[in-house]
Amino acid sequence: MLLLTEKRRLRADLIHFFEGVAIHIHCGYDLAYAWNEVLRGVGQVMAPAFVTLMLFQDGGTLADTLNRLSNSYPDPSHRLWFTILAQLYMQGAGMSEAVTAAAETLDREQARDLDNHCRTLPGRLNLRILLFFLPPTLLLLFCPLLLEWGFE
């Protein structure tokens, strides 16, 4: 179960990763090559957990990695993209459009999430202030009074 912030961070990394891969494919490189090159080139600025997840494991191929990710990517809502990419890759179809579409969709999702975060933040803050700061005020105000009135 991912925390909301972890989910957003993972999505941001995935967007940047797909953008990098899309640019490589657009320039005529193969998906498997682009995949490794992006991880090698910009892996240092991404979360280490994300890079480990995307790496080819145990000498596997890209098809194996895509299948693994489509079954076990931490955010279930993004597994669909890996399933689509795996199918297209195995059929030998063009990948550029699919990868770009994935990056753009995830990007829009992130922007919607940010909008939602900004819209609901004041309400959530007020709720926390009421929950955590009103009780101490009441406690420090009424405890001396209750003691004075004989409530031990």
């Binding site: 912030t5 957003r8 640019i23 910009v42 940010l114 202030i129 420090l140 001396p144 003691l147 004075e148």
Partner: protein
């Protein structure tokens, strides 16, 4: 006691802090010849703490005959104040660099479109006295200066990437460096980087504004119970004394404090986007 604290701790701290703040502003705003927060600043911080402690010891020794208290009282506030002011200055400086990077990269895009190579475009922009992108140009300049001594452009770009804090910019510079090494076209990457950067900056500014309001609310919320408590103690000293002498005093204060700490942590987590 108040006079002792004022003479031994606060006065030396204020004198030294005032001097160091103006020096730090000069150091952090001139990123051209060194990284903000580098050895220059650390030595300044250490000397400020030392000077503040020594001044505290001299004043306290002269006025009260207890230099050791002045030493401690002079060092503690300067340590805390130093850390807070440095953090604030660094954040302000990083923000300036981030904002300047958009203008710089737009100009770089323009130069690349007109057919100039990446290295000459970078040097042309870094050396131009354009104030709008000066903070970012200064940061790049500090990395690109090694190019003249034989370091490859790719290594210089990697160094510049590692010196920035904005994730979008780090990634953008990383992609530009990767494209340069692979011989890929840089213009589409730069275009996408600019889009991310602008969006990233707008999002961060929005979150910062919201967080600022949240911190203001938090400051009021944290101090309110204690203001109420102090007011009660001031106007009803008998009530306060009775409560102070009871067994419930420390548990109630501890409970109020723990609730506030949990609340502050919860608000901090809540204001963070990712």
């Amino acid at each position: 006691m108040i006079g002792f604290v004022l003479a031994g701790g606060i006065l030396p701290f204020l004198i030294c802090w005032g001097i160091s703040y103006s020096l730090k502003r000069r150091i952090t705003s001139s990123t051209r010849h060194g990284r903000p927060g580098g050895p220059q600043l650390v030595s300044l911080q250490c000397s400020l703490i030392l000077a503040s402690a020594l001044l505290g010891a001299i004043i306290a020794g002269y006025l009260w005959g207890r230099p050791i208290f002045g030493l401690v009282l002079g060092a503690i506030p300067s340590l805390c104040g130093e850390r807070a002011s440095s953090l604030w200055l660094f954040q302000r400086n990083h923000r300036k660099v981030e904002e300047a990077s958009v203008g710089f990269l737009t100009a770089l895009q323009g130069l690349l479109k007109s057919g100039i190579g990446l290295s000459s475009a970078l040097f042309q922009l870094v050396e131009s006295p354009q104030s709008t992108w000066a903070p970012f140009a200064g940061l790049l300049d500090a990395s690109l200066i090694r190019f003249h001594s034989g370091t490859s452009l790719s290594a210089c770009l990697t160094r510049a990437r590692d010196r920035t804090s904005l994730p979008g910019l780090r990634l953008g510079l990383g992609l530009v460096q990767m494209a340069y090494c692979q011989g890929l076209p840089i213009l589409p990457i730069l275009g996408r980087t600019l889009e991310w950067l602008e969006r990233d900056l707008a999002a961060r500014a929005r979150i910062r504004d919201l967080a600022r309001a949240a911190w203001a609310q938090l400051a009021i919320a944290v101090s309110l119970p204690w203001i109420v408590f102090t007011t009660l103690a001031y106007f009803e000293p008998g009530l306060w004394r009775h409560f102070r002498e009871s067994t419930q005093f420390w548990p109630v204060v501890a409970l109020a404090l723990s609730l506030e700490i949990v609340g502050a942590y919860s608000i901090r987590r809540c204001a963070c986007f990712c």
